[in-house]
Amino acid sequence: MQEGRDCARAPLMELMQLVIGGLANGCIYGLVALGFVLIYKASEGVNFAQGDMMMLGAFIALGLGNADELGLPFGIAVIGAMAIMFVLSWGVERVVVRQIFGQPQFALVILTIAMGFVFRFVAGSIWGYSPLVLETPFAGQNLRAGGIVVGLADLVTIGVTILLTLGLWAFFAFTRIGLAAQAASQNQMAAYIVGVPVMRVNSLIWGLSGAVATVAGVLYATKGAIDPNIGLLGIKAFAAAVIGGLGSLPGALLGGLIIGVVEPIAGRYAPGELAKMSPYIIMLVVLVARPGGLFAQIQMKKV
């Protein structure tokens, strides 16, 4: 009898298990997608190095924190990596991106693809190309609740993502700088004439997106080994950002969560390689049904 009941419960348990793991993965896609949206708002273009910024952030945290490297305490290593990536991304905007201001959008696309390669080779030449493990306080720890096993890393990922999202929301909704950034993303000319230093705000947003990418990278690294090519996850996160509407922070997060949850479920129940295709299939469906994304900010209605 006991066995029979377990069998009846098993499919639901399995689904729950997949959903929780998927949510945690989705948070990471969502955080990288947030980076896409931040920069899309600041520089009116897509930063295809966003995934590589995530990768570099993770490696810097590893370089600062792992025992055989600098060996700093985990928390300090993460904050240090965020600070370094903030300054690096801020500098990239100041020195490189600003030079192509006013050029067509594809200029930024090509530039950031090239930048992504540079980041990959920089990480590769410092840390090599074989997978490394970031030492974290919560590696391999699991929590059990009613037959479901949840990795502590997954819970931390979900919690950190919620906190960071609330923080970013408060920043944009309430602070003078956040409001200025919103204004600049809506209309640069108007922002200038009310006194917003648009260029300076854009650099700051790049810095912010570097720091967010680092958080995503560290969370990614809590779940497995990292190598310089993990930045390719950025393509999936880009799909998440497009699903959300590319201009919307909550949309990006939602897009990430959708992809994160659908992927493992498709992997379990759908045939063949459908799981790997699922992010892009969802993106195509959303683009056909709602060309502006789920949280479209651009009104299609013309007067």
Binding site: T175, R176, L179, A183, Q186, M189, Y192, I193, V194, G195
Partner: protein, 258 residues
């Protein structure tokens, strides 16, 4: 002393001399209009004063200070506000938020204070909202306070832009074709507002305008420009009587009809 001094201002884009040797002074409390045919360089003069364009030659002084080397985002803080011919608003925000954005340079709180919403932030926020409500009342925008810009009719958006400029709390307001696209009644409202800005708010107004009835009604002095060069300056009737001005206008009138 003049509030705004423009001396020998010029900007050349490649071989095109968009503005070429324009000089004028605007006194405090004056309503000064710049007129001229399309492409005469009127809006370009505004973009030079707002520091959006870099002048090839010449100087700009405001309130006794040389502003030629300043950046576009420094201008609001000095007390110069403007509107645009093609309306530049924050389209995905409400009317209220657009006007509040005009208070940006008056906000002195920092990031941490903002996040914690300290008493100082609350006090400041109240003061800004009061100031903005005054503007809303003045321009009769009450009905649109919480409406998104993107869905508003053209005439209302034009008024909102004037409102945002007033929310900046300027000494000098630049109005780029405030009457274009407006009905006769709406244009009459604009005329009253300009008179009130001068009389009740002590503002100095510099405007670019095609509607000669509005120009005649509100301006103290008029500068006529054509092909980037000054043609005549004086009272509205003096300038309209100028043969050079008449020739420039007849020329465009023929072009417009064609």
């Amino acid at each position: 002393m003049s509030l705004l001094e423009v001396k020998d201002l010029a900007v050349h884009f490649g071989g095109v001399k968009a503005v070429d040797g324009v000089s004028f002074d605007v006194s405090p409390g004056e309503v000064f209009a710049i007129i001229g045919p399309n492409g005469a360089g009127k809006s370009t003069i505004f973009n030079l004063i707002s520091r959006i364009y870099e002048p090839t030659r010449g100087t700009l002084r405001f309130d006794g200070k040389d502003i030629t080397g300043l950046k576009a985002h420094d201008i609001a803080r000095l007390g110069i506000a403007r509107t645009f011919q093609n309306i530049e608003l924050f389209d995905h925000s409400t009317v209220l938020d657009n006007l509040l954005m005009g208070r940006h340079t008056h906000r002195a709180t920092n990031f941490i204070q903002d996040i914690l919403f300290l008493p100082k932030v609350r006090r400041e926020e109240r003061a800004h909202r009061l100031r903005v409500e005054e503007v809303i009342e003045f321009l009769e925008l009450e009905a649109y306070r919480t409406k998104m810009i993107a869905g508003l009719p053209y005439g209302v958006r034009k008024v909102v832009e004037i409102g945002r400029a007033l929310a900046i709390g300027p000494k000098l307001i630049l109005l780029d074709e405030p009457a274009s696209g407006l009905s006769v009644e709406e244009t009459q409202d604009v005329a009253f507002w300009i008179e009130d800005m001068r009389r009740d708010m002590g503002l100095t107004v510099l405007m670019v305008e095609h509607d000669m009835s509005l120009v005649n009604q509100v301006s103290d002095r008029v500068l006529a420009v054509a092909n980037g060069k000054p043609l005549a300056m004086g009272t509205p009737s003096e300038v309209q009587a100028d043969p050079q001005v008449q020739a420039a206008y007849l020329g465009t009138a023929v072009e417009d009809a064609a």
